[in-house]
Protein backbone atom coordinates (compact mmCIF):
# COMPACT_ATOMS: atom_id res chain seq x y z
CA UNK A 1 0.00 0.00 0.00
CA UNK A 2 1.14 3.51 -0.80
CA UNK A 3 -0.33 6.65 0.70
CA UNK A 4 -1.11 8.97 -2.18
CA UNK A 5 -1.77 12.67 -1.92
CA UNK A 6 -4.17 13.61 -4.68
CA UNK A 7 -5.72 16.97 -5.56
CA UNK A 8 -9.20 16.13 -6.73
CA UNK A 9 -11.90 18.67 -7.52
CA UNK A 10 -10.10 21.29 -5.44
CA UNK A 11 -9.65 19.04 -2.38
CA UNK A 12 -6.34 17.67 -1.19
CA UNK A 13 -6.97 14.02 -0.28
CA UNK A 14 -4.80 11.36 1.28
CA UNK A 15 -5.66 7.86 0.19
CA UNK A 16 -4.01 4.46 0.58
CA UNK A 17 -3.87 2.25 -2.51
CA UNK A 18 -1.67 -0.51 -3.96
CA UNK A 19 0.97 0.61 -6.51
CA UNK A 20 -0.79 -1.21 -9.35
CA UNK A 21 -4.13 0.55 -8.95
CA UNK A 22 -5.18 2.94 -11.68
CA UNK A 23 -6.43 6.43 -10.96
CA UNK A 24 -9.89 5.20 -12.02
CA UNK A 25 -9.81 2.45 -9.41
CA UNK A 26 -8.64 4.88 -6.72
CA UNK A 27 -11.44 7.29 -7.64
CA UNK A 28 -14.17 4.68 -7.73
CA UNK A 29 -13.16 2.14 -5.09
CA UNK A 30 -11.26 4.23 -2.55
CA UNK A 31 -12.89 7.63 -2.82
CA UNK A 32 -16.41 6.65 -3.86
CA UNK A 33 -16.28 9.01 -6.86
CA UNK A 34 -18.17 6.69 -9.19
CA UNK A 35 -19.00 9.38 -11.75
CA UNK A 36 -15.99 8.33 -13.83
CA UNK A 37 -17.12 5.18 -15.60
CA UNK A 38 -15.23 1.95 -16.04
CA UNK A 39 -16.19 0.98 -19.58
CA UNK A 40 -13.57 -0.98 -21.50
CA UNK A 41 -10.85 -0.44 -18.86
CA UNK A 42 -8.20 -0.56 -21.61
CA UNK A 43 -8.16 2.82 -23.27
CA UNK A 44 -10.73 2.35 -26.03
CA UNK A 45 -13.90 4.12 -24.96
CA UNK A 46 -13.18 7.36 -23.06
CA UNK A 47 -15.85 6.71 -20.39
CA UNK A 48 -13.18 7.09 -17.68
CA UNK A 49 -11.99 10.50 -18.96
CA UNK A 50 -10.99 12.97 -16.25
CA UNK A 51 -9.20 16.29 -16.57
CA UNK A 52 -5.58 16.32 -15.43
CA UNK A 53 -4.37 19.92 -15.23
CA UNK A 54 -7.29 20.73 -17.52
CA UNK A 55 -6.46 18.15 -20.21
CA UNK A 56 -8.65 15.07 -20.85
CA UNK A 57 -6.91 11.83 -19.89
CA UNK A 58 -8.02 8.23 -19.58
CA UNK A 59 -7.98 7.41 -15.87
CA UNK A 60 -8.05 3.66 -16.59
CA UNK A 61 -4.54 4.01 -18.08
CA UNK A 62 -3.04 6.32 -15.44
CA UNK A 63 -1.43 4.72 -12.39
CA UNK A 64 -2.82 6.33 -9.23
CA UNK A 65 0.67 7.18 -7.97
CA UNK A 66 1.48 9.00 -11.20
CA UNK A 67 -1.50 11.33 -10.68
CA UNK A 68 0.10 12.92 -7.62
CA UNK A 69 0.98 16.58 -8.06
CA UNK A 70 -1.67 17.28 -10.70
CA UNK A 71 -5.05 18.99 -10.41
CA UNK A 72 -7.66 16.36 -11.21
CA UNK A 73 -11.23 17.20 -12.15
CA UNK A 74 -13.89 14.51 -12.30
CA UNK A 75 -17.50 14.95 -13.33
CA UNK A 76 -18.38 15.44 -9.63
CA UNK A 77 -16.22 18.59 -9.67
CA UNK A 78 -17.72 20.28 -12.70
CA UNK A 79 -20.70 21.99 -11.03
CA UNK A 80 -18.81 23.00 -7.86
CA UNK A 81 -16.08 24.56 -10.02
CA UNK A 82 -18.71 26.48 -11.96
CA UNK A 83 -20.33 27.71 -8.72
CA UNK A 84 -16.92 28.69 -7.27
CA UNK A 85 -16.23 30.73 -10.40
CA UNK A 86 -19.42 32.71 -9.64
CA UNK A 87 -21.75 30.79 -11.96
CA UNK A 88 -25.23 29.59 -11.16
CA UNK A 89 -26.62 26.07 -11.31
CA UNK A 90 -24.87 23.34 -13.24
CA UNK A 91 -21.94 23.87 -15.61
CA UNK A 92 -23.26 25.19 -18.95
CA UNK A 93 -22.04 21.98 -20.62
CA UNK A 94 -24.18 19.88 -18.26
CA UNK A 95 -27.08 22.21 -18.82
CA UNK A 96 -26.77 21.98 -22.60
CA UNK A 97 -26.51 18.18 -22.59
CA UNK A 98 -29.69 18.09 -20.51
CA UNK A 99 -31.51 20.61 -22.69
CA UNK A 100 -30.52 18.92 -25.97
CA UNK A 101 -31.29 15.40 -24.79
CA UNK A 102 -27.69 14.47 -25.56
CA UNK A 103 -27.90 11.15 -23.76
CA UNK A 104 -29.67 7.85 -23.61
CA UNK A 105 -28.08 5.42 -21.17
CA UNK A 106 -25.72 8.12 -19.93
CA UNK A 107 -22.65 5.93 -19.57
CA UNK A 108 -20.47 8.03 -21.88
CA UNK A 109 -21.69 11.35 -20.47
CA UNK A 110 -19.16 12.10 -17.70
CA UNK A 111 -16.23 11.62 -20.08
CA UNK A 112 -18.02 13.35 -22.94
CA UNK A 113 -18.87 16.41 -20.83
CA UNK A 114 -15.34 16.68 -19.44
CA UNK A 115 -13.83 16.52 -22.94
CA UNK A 116 -16.32 19.18 -24.03
CA UNK A 117 -15.50 21.37 -21.02
CA UNK A 118 -11.75 21.10 -21.74
CA UNK A 119 -12.35 22.07 -25.37
CA UNK A 120 -14.47 25.10 -24.48
CA UNK A 121 -11.94 26.29 -21.89
CA UNK A 122 -9.25 26.26 -24.53
CA UNK A 123 -11.33 27.38 -27.47
CA UNK A 124 -14.62 29.13 -26.57
CA UNK A 125 -15.95 29.10 -30.14
CA UNK A 126 -14.91 25.84 -31.81
CA UNK A 127 -16.12 24.86 -35.26
CA UNK A 128 -18.12 21.64 -35.81
CA UNK A 129 -14.99 19.90 -37.00
CA UNK A 130 -13.00 21.04 -33.95
CA UNK A 131 -15.79 19.69 -31.73
CA UNK A 132 -15.73 16.37 -33.65
CA UNK A 133 -11.98 16.14 -33.19
CA UNK A 134 -12.06 17.00 -29.48
CA UNK A 135 -14.77 14.43 -28.71
CA UNK A 136 -13.39 11.74 -31.00
CA UNK A 137 -11.84 9.84 -28.10
CA UNK A 138 -15.20 9.48 -26.36
CA UNK A 139 -17.39 6.74 -27.75
CA UNK A 140 -21.17 6.69 -27.36
CA UNK A 141 -23.09 3.59 -28.32
CA UNK A 142 -26.56 5.08 -27.91
CA UNK A 143 -27.10 8.58 -29.21
CA UNK A 144 -25.53 8.55 -32.66
CA UNK A 145 -23.64 11.67 -31.53
CA UNK A 146 -25.89 14.23 -33.23
CA UNK A 147 -27.42 15.64 -30.06
CA UNK A 148 -24.07 15.60 -28.32
CA UNK A 149 -22.56 17.81 -31.02
CA UNK A 150 -25.67 20.01 -30.94
CA UNK A 151 -25.31 20.35 -27.17
CA UNK A 152 -21.73 21.59 -27.46
CA UNK A 153 -22.73 23.95 -30.26
CA UNK A 154 -25.60 25.25 -28.20
CA UNK A 155 -23.14 25.99 -25.37
CA UNK A 156 -21.02 27.95 -27.81
CA UNK A 157 -24.07 29.87 -29.06
CA UNK A 158 -25.10 30.71 -25.47
CA UNK A 159 -21.61 31.88 -24.55
CA UNK A 160 -21.24 34.01 -27.65
CA UNK A 161 -24.71 35.45 -26.98
CA UNK A 162 -23.73 36.39 -23.43
CA UNK A 163 -20.62 38.18 -24.64
CA UNK A 164 -22.57 40.41 -26.97
Amino acid sequence: MHVLTLRINGDCLKVAAPAHWTLLEVLRYELGLTGSKQGCDKGDCGACTVLVDGKPRLSCLVLGSLAEGYEITTIEGLMPAHLCAGGEGADPVQDAFDRCGALQCGFCQPGMMLSARALLNENPSPTRSEINQALSGNLCRCTGYTQILQAVESCVADAVGEDR
Partner: protein
Amino acid sequence: MLRLPAFELAQPETIEAACALFAEHGERAMIVAGGTDLLPNLKHELYDIDVVIALAGIPALDDIEMQGHGLSIGAMTPLARVAASPDVRSHAPALAQAASLVAGPQHRTMGTLGGNVMLDTRCQWINQSHFWRQALGYCLKKDGSVCHVVEGGKKCVAAASNDSAPALMSLGAKLVFTTTDAERSLPIEDLWVSDGIYNKSSKPGEILTRIVVPLSDSRHRGAYGKLRDRGSIDFPLLGCAVRLDLDDEGIISDCDLVMVALQARPTRVKKIAESLNGVRIGTPEFEAAVEEVARRAHKQCKPLDNIPGDMDYRRRMIPVYVRRTLLAAAEGGGPVHHI
Protein backbone atom coordinates in the same frame (compact mmCIF):
# COMPACT_ATOMS: atom_id res chain seq x y z
CA MET B 1 -13.20 -4.76 -15.31
CA LEU B 2 -9.56 -5.49 -16.15
CA ARG B 3 -7.28 -5.35 -13.12
CA LEU B 4 -3.54 -4.84 -13.38
CA PRO B 5 -1.38 -7.59 -11.93
CA ALA B 6 0.49 -6.55 -8.79
CA PHE B 7 3.90 -4.86 -9.28
CA GLU B 8 6.15 -2.38 -7.57
CA LEU B 9 6.26 1.08 -9.07
CA ALA B 10 9.57 2.92 -9.12
CA GLN B 11 9.56 6.66 -9.75
CA PRO B 12 13.19 7.69 -10.33
CA GLU B 13 13.94 11.40 -10.64
CA THR B 14 17.04 11.13 -12.80
CA ILE B 15 17.89 9.14 -15.89
CA GLU B 16 20.88 7.65 -14.03
CA ALA B 17 18.58 6.34 -11.29
CA ALA B 18 16.17 4.93 -13.90
CA CYS B 19 19.03 3.14 -15.70
CA ALA B 20 20.33 1.73 -12.42
CA LEU B 21 16.88 0.34 -11.56
CA PHE B 22 16.48 -1.13 -15.05
CA ALA B 23 19.96 -2.71 -14.83
CA GLU B 24 19.13 -4.16 -11.42
CA HIS B 25 15.79 -5.71 -12.41
CA GLY B 26 16.50 -6.52 -16.07
CA GLU B 27 13.78 -8.64 -17.67
CA ARG B 28 11.63 -8.43 -14.56
CA ALA B 29 11.13 -4.69 -15.15
CA MET B 30 9.50 -2.55 -17.82
CA ILE B 31 9.40 1.18 -18.49
CA VAL B 32 6.16 3.14 -18.34
CA ALA B 33 6.08 6.36 -20.34
CA GLY B 34 2.48 7.40 -21.09
CA GLY B 35 1.21 3.92 -20.25
CA THR B 36 -1.27 3.77 -23.14
CA ASP B 37 0.29 0.59 -24.52
CA LEU B 38 1.94 -0.89 -21.44
CA LEU B 39 -1.15 -0.77 -19.20
CA PRO B 40 -3.60 -2.50 -21.59
CA ASN B 41 -0.96 -5.17 -22.28
CA LEU B 42 -0.30 -5.67 -18.56
CA LYS B 43 -4.04 -5.92 -17.97
CA HIS B 44 -4.12 -8.63 -20.63
CA GLU B 45 -1.33 -10.40 -18.73
CA LEU B 46 1.12 -10.29 -21.62
CA TYR B 47 4.19 -9.63 -19.45
CA ASP B 48 5.63 -11.37 -16.38
CA ILE B 49 7.25 -8.52 -14.50
CA ASP B 50 7.64 -7.35 -10.90
CA VAL B 51 8.72 -3.75 -11.35
CA VAL B 52 7.43 -0.86 -13.45
CA ILE B 53 9.81 2.08 -13.83
CA ALA B 54 8.06 5.38 -14.53
CA LEU B 55 9.95 8.02 -16.51
CA ALA B 56 7.39 10.75 -15.83
CA GLY B 57 9.34 12.31 -12.94
CA ILE B 58 12.55 12.78 -14.94
CA PRO B 59 12.95 16.32 -16.25
CA ALA B 60 14.47 17.14 -19.65
CA LEU B 61 13.07 14.14 -21.48
CA ASP B 62 10.09 15.98 -22.93
CA ASP B 63 11.49 18.75 -25.05
CA ILE B 64 11.96 19.37 -28.76
CA GLU B 65 15.32 20.96 -29.52
CA MET B 66 16.78 22.24 -32.76
CA GLN B 67 20.42 21.23 -32.81
CA GLY B 68 23.07 21.74 -35.47
CA HIS B 69 22.67 18.25 -36.87
CA GLY B 70 19.00 17.69 -36.36
CA LEU B 71 15.78 17.93 -34.48
CA SER B 72 16.27 16.21 -31.14
CA ILE B 73 13.03 15.06 -29.52
CA GLY B 74 12.96 13.80 -25.92
CA ALA B 75 11.47 10.32 -25.64
CA MET B 76 8.82 11.55 -23.17
CA THR B 77 7.46 14.27 -25.49
CA PRO B 78 3.71 13.71 -25.85
CA LEU B 79 2.52 12.89 -29.37
CA ALA B 80 0.15 15.88 -29.32
CA ARG B 81 3.16 18.17 -28.90
CA VAL B 82 5.11 16.41 -31.65
CA ALA B 83 2.11 16.84 -33.97
CA ALA B 84 1.72 20.54 -33.18
CA SER B 85 5.40 21.55 -33.12
CA PRO B 86 6.18 24.07 -35.89
CA ASP B 87 9.74 22.67 -36.12
CA VAL B 88 8.54 19.08 -36.58
CA ARG B 89 5.88 20.20 -39.05
CA SER B 90 8.38 22.02 -41.20
CA HIS B 91 11.36 19.65 -41.00
CA ALA B 92 9.59 16.33 -40.66
CA PRO B 93 6.01 16.68 -41.94
CA ALA B 94 5.50 12.92 -42.20
CA LEU B 95 6.31 12.55 -38.49
CA ALA B 96 4.01 15.41 -37.45
CA GLN B 97 1.22 13.90 -39.56
CA ALA B 98 1.76 10.38 -38.22
CA ALA B 99 1.71 11.67 -34.63
CA SER B 100 -1.50 13.59 -35.33
CA LEU B 101 -3.24 10.37 -36.45
CA VAL B 102 -2.27 8.13 -33.52
CA ALA B 103 -5.36 6.94 -31.63
CA GLY B 104 -7.61 9.65 -30.12
CA PRO B 105 -6.96 13.02 -28.43
CA GLN B 106 -6.53 11.55 -24.93
CA HIS B 107 -3.96 9.02 -26.17
CA ARG B 108 -2.00 11.73 -27.94
CA THR B 109 -1.89 13.83 -24.76
CA MET B 110 -0.78 10.85 -22.67
CA GLY B 111 1.20 8.79 -25.18
CA THR B 112 4.81 9.74 -25.88
CA LEU B 113 6.98 9.54 -28.98
CA GLY B 114 9.39 7.20 -27.17
CA GLY B 115 6.53 4.90 -26.18
CA ASN B 116 5.28 4.94 -29.75
CA VAL B 117 8.67 3.88 -31.13
CA MET B 118 8.88 1.14 -28.49
CA LEU B 119 5.24 0.00 -28.96
CA ASP B 120 4.75 -3.74 -28.73
CA THR B 121 3.65 -5.58 -31.87
CA ARG B 122 -0.05 -6.30 -32.27
CA CYS B 123 -2.16 -9.26 -33.30
CA GLN B 124 -5.87 -9.97 -33.01
CA TRP B 125 -5.08 -13.23 -31.23
CA ILE B 126 -2.85 -11.67 -28.56
CA ASN B 127 -4.33 -8.27 -27.67
CA GLN B 128 -7.06 -9.99 -25.72
CA SER B 129 -7.77 -10.78 -22.08
CA HIS B 130 -6.07 -13.74 -20.44
CA PHE B 131 -9.44 -15.51 -20.23
CA TRP B 132 -9.97 -15.09 -23.99
CA ARG B 133 -6.47 -16.28 -24.87
CA GLN B 134 -6.74 -19.23 -22.55
CA ALA B 135 -10.07 -20.24 -24.09
CA LEU B 136 -8.62 -20.09 -27.62
CA GLY B 137 -5.30 -21.69 -26.71
CA TYR B 138 -2.15 -19.68 -26.13
CA CYS B 139 0.20 -18.77 -28.97
CA LEU B 140 3.95 -18.35 -29.52
CA LYS B 141 4.04 -14.73 -28.38
CA LYS B 142 2.96 -15.65 -24.87
CA ASP B 143 2.67 -19.01 -23.14
CA GLY B 144 1.97 -21.15 -26.22
CA SER B 145 3.68 -23.10 -28.99
CA VAL B 146 1.50 -22.43 -32.05
CA CYS B 147 0.67 -19.43 -34.21
CA HIS B 148 -2.98 -18.78 -35.05
CA VAL B 149 -2.05 -16.66 -38.07
CA VAL B 150 0.38 -18.92 -39.91
CA GLU B 151 -0.60 -22.56 -39.54
CA GLY B 152 2.44 -24.56 -38.50
CA GLY B 153 4.38 -21.27 -38.21
CA LYS B 154 7.39 -21.28 -35.91
CA LYS B 155 7.75 -17.51 -35.81
CA CYS B 156 5.41 -14.85 -34.45
CA VAL B 157 4.29 -12.42 -37.16
CA ALA B 158 2.43 -9.91 -34.96
CA ALA B 159 2.45 -6.54 -36.72
CA ALA B 160 4.48 -3.43 -35.98
CA SER B 161 1.61 -0.96 -35.56
CA ASN B 162 3.28 2.27 -34.52
CA ASP B 163 2.46 5.18 -36.79
CA SER B 164 5.68 7.04 -36.01
CA ALA B 165 7.93 4.12 -37.04
CA PRO B 166 7.63 4.36 -40.84
CA ALA B 167 7.80 8.16 -40.71
CA LEU B 168 10.98 8.10 -38.62
CA MET B 169 12.46 5.42 -40.86
CA SER B 170 11.76 7.39 -44.02
CA LEU B 171 13.47 10.38 -42.37
CA GLY B 172 16.60 8.43 -41.40
CA ALA B 173 16.12 9.12 -37.67
CA LYS B 174 18.57 7.99 -35.01
CA LEU B 175 17.62 6.71 -31.58
CA VAL B 176 19.66 7.43 -28.48
CA PHE B 177 19.60 4.60 -25.92
CA THR B 178 21.03 5.15 -22.46
CA THR B 179 22.25 2.53 -19.99
CA THR B 180 24.07 2.81 -16.66
CA ASP B 181 27.47 3.15 -18.28
CA ALA B 182 26.94 4.13 -21.89
CA GLU B 183 24.91 5.96 -24.46
CA ARG B 184 24.58 4.66 -28.00
CA SER B 185 23.04 6.12 -31.10
CA LEU B 186 21.27 3.64 -33.33
CA PRO B 187 19.88 4.27 -36.83
CA ILE B 188 16.18 3.42 -36.46
CA GLU B 189 16.62 0.90 -39.31
CA ASP B 190 18.72 -1.19 -36.98
CA LEU B 191 16.17 -1.22 -34.17
CA TRP B 192 13.81 -3.62 -35.92
CA VAL B 193 14.04 -7.38 -36.12
CA SER B 194 11.53 -9.67 -37.84
CA ASP B 195 10.23 -11.30 -34.70
CA GLY B 196 6.74 -10.42 -33.48
CA ILE B 197 7.54 -11.65 -29.96
CA TYR B 198 9.88 -8.69 -29.52
CA ASN B 199 10.60 -6.80 -32.73
CA LYS B 200 13.48 -4.70 -31.45
CA SER B 201 17.22 -5.17 -31.04
CA SER B 202 17.25 -3.14 -27.79
CA LYS B 203 17.82 -5.05 -24.55
CA PRO B 204 16.28 -4.79 -21.09
CA GLY B 205 18.28 -2.11 -19.29
CA GLU B 206 18.35 0.22 -22.30
CA ILE B 207 16.21 3.32 -22.07
CA LEU B 208 15.33 5.29 -25.19
CA THR B 209 16.08 8.88 -24.27
CA ARG B 210 16.05 10.88 -27.52
CA ILE B 211 14.91 10.58 -31.11
CA VAL B 212 17.02 12.62 -33.53
CA VAL B 213 15.69 13.54 -36.96
CA PRO B 214 18.26 14.94 -39.44
CA LEU B 215 17.46 18.46 -40.57
CA SER B 216 16.05 18.80 -44.05
CA ASP B 217 15.95 21.83 -46.29
CA SER B 218 12.97 23.62 -47.75
CA ARG B 219 12.84 21.22 -50.70
CA HIS B 220 12.04 18.24 -48.47
CA ARG B 221 8.53 16.86 -48.94
CA GLY B 222 6.96 14.24 -46.73
CA ALA B 223 3.53 12.85 -45.91
CA TYR B 224 1.82 10.07 -43.97
CA GLY B 225 -1.19 8.04 -45.02
CA LYS B 226 -3.22 5.87 -42.65
CA LEU B 227 -6.00 3.39 -43.26
CA ARG B 228 -8.17 2.53 -40.27
CA ASP B 229 -11.74 1.58 -39.51
CA ARG B 230 -12.77 4.64 -37.54
CA GLY B 231 -11.29 8.08 -37.98
CA SER B 232 -10.32 8.07 -34.32
CA ILE B 233 -8.87 5.63 -31.81
CA ASP B 234 -8.03 2.78 -34.17
CA PHE B 235 -4.57 1.43 -34.78
CA PRO B 236 -3.44 1.48 -38.42
CA LEU B 237 -4.73 -1.22 -40.77
CA LEU B 238 -2.02 0.20 -42.99
CA GLY B 239 0.39 3.08 -42.54
CA CYS B 240 2.47 4.62 -45.29
CA ALA B 241 5.23 7.24 -44.94
CA VAL B 242 6.78 9.04 -47.89
CA ARG B 243 9.90 11.19 -48.24
CA LEU B 244 10.71 13.11 -51.43
CA ASP B 245 13.84 15.30 -51.64
CA LEU B 246 13.73 17.75 -54.52
CA ASP B 247 16.44 19.77 -56.20
CA ASP B 248 16.04 23.44 -57.20
CA GLU B 249 14.07 22.51 -60.31
CA GLY B 250 11.54 20.33 -58.46
CA ILE B 251 13.22 17.15 -59.67
CA ILE B 252 13.32 14.24 -57.22
CA SER B 253 16.88 13.58 -56.09
CA ASP B 254 16.12 11.02 -53.39
CA CYS B 255 13.05 9.31 -51.96
CA ASP B 256 11.80 6.70 -49.52
CA LEU B 257 8.57 4.81 -48.83
CA VAL B 258 8.00 2.80 -45.65
CA MET B 259 4.87 0.89 -44.64
CA VAL B 260 3.65 -0.36 -41.28
CA ALA B 261 0.97 -2.77 -39.98
CA LEU B 262 2.02 -5.57 -42.31
CA GLN B 263 4.57 -7.73 -40.50
CA ALA B 264 6.70 -7.61 -37.36
CA ARG B 265 8.95 -4.84 -38.62
CA PRO B 266 8.15 -1.72 -40.63
CA THR B 267 8.62 -2.50 -44.32
CA ARG B 268 10.58 -0.40 -46.80
CA VAL B 269 9.25 -0.62 -50.35
CA LYS B 270 12.25 -1.45 -52.49
CA LYS B 271 13.44 0.02 -55.74
CA ILE B 272 11.20 3.09 -55.70
CA ALA B 273 14.18 5.31 -56.54
CA GLU B 274 14.34 3.55 -59.92
CA SER B 275 10.93 4.96 -60.72
CA LEU B 276 11.06 8.35 -59.00
CA ASN B 277 14.63 9.72 -58.99
CA GLY B 278 15.21 12.23 -61.76
CA VAL B 279 11.49 12.85 -62.28
CA ARG B 280 10.01 16.35 -61.93
CA ILE B 281 6.98 16.47 -59.62
CA GLY B 282 3.66 17.58 -61.06
CA THR B 283 4.40 16.23 -64.57
CA PRO B 284 2.67 13.34 -66.42
CA GLU B 285 5.97 11.49 -66.03
CA PHE B 286 5.65 11.88 -62.27
CA GLU B 287 2.11 10.49 -62.33
CA ALA B 288 3.32 7.48 -64.31
CA ALA B 289 6.16 6.96 -61.83
CA VAL B 290 3.68 7.12 -58.94
CA GLU B 291 1.60 4.40 -60.61
CA GLU B 292 4.70 2.29 -61.02
CA VAL B 293 5.59 2.68 -57.34
CA ALA B 294 2.01 1.82 -56.34
CA ARG B 295 2.30 -1.40 -58.38
CA ARG B 296 5.67 -2.23 -56.82
CA ALA B 297 4.26 -1.69 -53.31
CA HIS B 298 1.28 -3.92 -54.09
CA LYS B 299 3.61 -6.62 -55.31
CA GLN B 300 6.03 -6.43 -52.41
CA CYS B 301 3.65 -5.94 -49.46
CA LYS B 302 1.45 -8.82 -48.36
CA PRO B 303 -0.77 -8.19 -45.35
CA LEU B 304 -1.33 -11.17 -43.05
CA ASP B 305 -4.29 -12.21 -40.96
CA ASN B 306 -2.49 -10.81 -37.89
CA ILE B 307 -4.39 -7.59 -37.25
CA PRO B 308 -8.12 -7.01 -37.66
CA GLY B 309 -9.47 -6.04 -41.07
CA ASP B 310 -9.84 -8.31 -44.07
CA MET B 311 -6.38 -8.97 -45.49
CA ASP B 312 -7.46 -8.89 -49.14
CA TYR B 313 -9.05 -5.50 -48.56
CA ARG B 314 -5.89 -4.29 -46.82
CA ARG B 315 -3.80 -5.49 -49.79
CA ARG B 316 -6.05 -3.74 -52.29
CA MET B 317 -5.71 -0.52 -50.32
CA ILE B 318 -1.89 -0.59 -50.53
CA PRO B 319 -1.61 0.96 -54.02
CA VAL B 320 -4.44 3.37 -53.17
CA TYR B 321 -2.68 4.70 -50.09
CA VAL B 322 0.77 4.69 -51.72
CA ARG B 323 -0.57 6.71 -54.65
CA ARG B 324 -2.47 9.20 -52.52
CA THR B 325 0.37 9.68 -50.05
CA LEU B 326 2.97 10.22 -52.79
CA LEU B 327 0.75 12.79 -54.50
CA ALA B 328 0.05 14.52 -51.17
CA ALA B 329 3.79 14.66 -50.37
CA ALA B 330 4.58 16.14 -53.79
CA GLU B 331 2.00 18.87 -53.20
CA GLY B 332 3.25 19.58 -49.67
CA GLY B 333 -0.06 18.22 -48.35
CA GLY B 334 -1.25 15.31 -46.21
CA PRO B 335 -2.02 13.53 -44.02
CA VAL B 336 -4.00 11.07 -46.09
CA HIS B 337 -6.88 9.43 -44.27
CA HIS B 338 -10.50 8.85 -44.94
CA ILE B 339 -12.08 11.61 -42.88
